[in-house]
Structure formats: structure tokens, C-alpha cells
Amino acid sequence: MNESTTPPLPASVDAWRGDFMSAARSHDARTRSPLRRLLAVLPVVVLLGSAGVAAAAIDESASPDLPPYAGEAHGYIDLNTGEPILCPDGNLLVYTPPSDDPIYGTPRCSDGSVPAAYTEQRQELLDFADDAGFLQSAETGPRFDFEVDGDE
């Protein structure tokens, strides 16, 4: 079935849309408060100051569920634990793919090592891309990168 023949939205979901939009407006109003906006900046400051502390900041205040863009600093989630992948020294594993180069390089820790969780999950993603067919398109594969930044 392709999207052009997708059945109509279930009535229960359509009714829930009102609740969703009402909750969305309330959330928006809450996040616009001056104090909230000030607090939202703090994790970014912490990130810039210390990658090690940043891992905790991401875990506690920013969801690692964002598809990142090239040119941004990428962090990586361990899909087995839901926690960010860290280097042996406790710092967050990060990498900034160049926006003008389609080749995605390998992120390395300061000692040159590559955490096993990254290597294994990267291989799973490559295997998935090779196998992607009827059930899943490549873009719905087990990606595990997220943008290392944070508002909200």
C-alpha cells in the first residue's frame, strides 16, 4: 500500500489531535518564560566547557533523539542502554562530519580508540542499508547519531 491509498486518519486519532494541539500550545507557553529560556542555555554552556559533563547534561536535559545534519557535532547513542557512547576517559564520543563531503568518517577518542559500541552499531547500520528492501527503507535503519547541542 502506498501513501496515496492510505486510509483516512482513525477517528480516535483525529479527536486526539485537539488534545495534542492544546498540549502543544501549553508547552510552547511554558518554554517561552524568561526563566525557562535562561535555564535552556545552561546545558549548551556546559557542553562547550566540558564534554564529560556534557554527557550528563545531555542525559538529563536534552533528548538524544534528533537526526543531525552534516556540519554539526554528532554524538552517538548506545541503543542497548539508551545512554550516550563515551570514550575511555569519560568524554562524549563526538564527530563533526564535513558538510561538503559525503564520506562519513570514523569518530575517535582523544587516545585514538573507537568505542566498540560505535563500531558494532555502525556495522549494523551498514548491514541494514545493504538489506533495506520491502519492509524498511534505508532511512528508517537503526541510526544512533544525534546532534550535540541543546535547546529545550
Binding site: M1, E3, T6, P7, P8, L9, P10, A11, S12, V13, A15, W16, R17, D19, F20, M21, A23, A24, R25, S26, H27, D28, S63, D65, L66, P67, Y69, I77, L79, N80, G82, D131, A132, G133, F134, L135, Q136, S137, E139, T140, G141, P142, R143, F144, F146, E147, D151, E152
Partner: protein
């Protein structure tokens, strides 16, 4: 700038603009997800969580085309899906931030959503995958996916709690997904 991408950018200042995204994306997401998890309730929960996350993170979207927007939303959905398979439960963090529960479908709607994957070839492949699972997982998936039994009834039948029933189905789905990786050439043939 394309219309949906524009609506998402506009929703930064006017949250009401997000309704256009909801109306255009929930149903395609639901159809795509139910073909990946074979469970209407799980698919609805992930679709709802994905749109909640999309709303919360809308300021981060940098694209200007609808194609980029759909890809971005699919990326969020894929992360939610991956976490579901790893943790055997749907993460509802974004919904929690909004302060709402996911929608509850009627039994009739559950059947309608499940029938979006009602293709004979798919059923045969799923049946093959089921045969490779443990008996308890087979039974749980047979009752839930094939017989379309509500979780409450399924739990009573298996004499376990509803929470345990959901966990058993989720673990079975993760096992089924691994089994079906072996069918990719066949699936591709029918794709």
C-alpha cells in the same frame, strides 16, 4: 520554501501551525510503523511520540523542502523504533513533556490499522518467522498479531499481567524482526 516545511518553521512562533504537520504526517507514519512492528497499538504510540518529539524539537529543523521535513520526521521515528526494539517498550518521553497520553484506538480502528499490512505474502513470511521463536513468544504473537486480541484479553488468556503481556509481545516482535532479516531478498522481490 515548501508548504509543510514552512508550516513547521511558522510553528516556532505560532504553535497552531503545527496542526498541518500533524494532519499530513500522522497517518503515513502510522501506516509505515505498523508494517514494521505488526502491532497497531505500538505503532500508534510510536507515531504519537514521534510527532510530540517533532513539535518539541521543531526549532532545530533547518530544511526548507517537504522532502527534508519528512526525512527528518522519519529519522526521529526510526530512533524511537530502534529504542523500542532494544528496550522492549515504547519511549514516551516527548508525550510526557507535553503532558498527554497517546491516543487510544477502538477495536474497530485497531483492526483497520492492522489490515494496512494485510498482504498474503507478508502474512506467510511472518508465519515463517513466528515458527523460529520460542513457544511462549509464538503464542503471544499469534494471539496479538494474528488473532488481533486486545492486551487485556491476551493477559487473561496467558494468566499474566497486562504489563507482562506487552513485554512478551515486544520481545517476540524483536525476535521476529531478527528472523525476518533473513527474508530480505524475498521481501525485496515483492517490494
Amino acid at each position: 520554501m515548501d508548504s509543510l516545511a514552512r508550516a513547521l518553521h511558522d510553528s516556532t512562533d505560532d504553535p497552531g501551525s503545527f496542526e498541518v504537520i500533524f494532519l499530513s504526517q500522522f497517518n503515513p507514519l502510522l501506516s509505515r510503523l505498523v508494517r514494521q512492528v505488526w502491532d497497531s497499538e505500538i505503532a500508534v504510540d510510536i507515531a504519537a511520540e514521534t510527532l510530540a518529539e517533532t513539535f518539541i524539537r521543531r526549532r532545530r529543523f533547518r530544511g526548507c523542502t517537504d522532502r527534508e521535513l519528512v526525512g527528518w520526521i522519519n529519522g526521529i521515528a526510526s530512533r524511537k523504533l530502534a529504542l523500542f526494539y532494544r528496550k522492549h517498550q515504547v519511549e514516551k518521553r516527548a508525550l510526557s513533556k507535553l503532558g498527554i497520553e497517546p491516543p487510544t484506538l477502538t477495536e474497530e480502528e485497531h483492526h483497520e490499522v492492522l489490515h494496512r499490512i494485510d498482504e498474503p505474502v507478508m502474512r506467510e513470511i511472518v508465519r515463517d518467522g513466528l515458527a523460529a521463536l520460542s513457544e511462549t513468544q509464538q503464542e503471544a504473537l499469534q494471539l496479538r498479531i494474528v488473532d488481533e486480541m486486545p492486551y487485556e484479553e491476551l493477559a487473561a488468556r496467558l494468566e499474566i499481567t497486562e504489563e507482562a503481556a506487552r513485554a512478551r509481545v515486544a520481545r517476540g516482535l524483536a525476535g521476529l524482526r531478527r528472523q525476518l532479516r533473513n527474508h530480505q531478498p524475498l521481501l525485496r522481490e515483492f517490494g
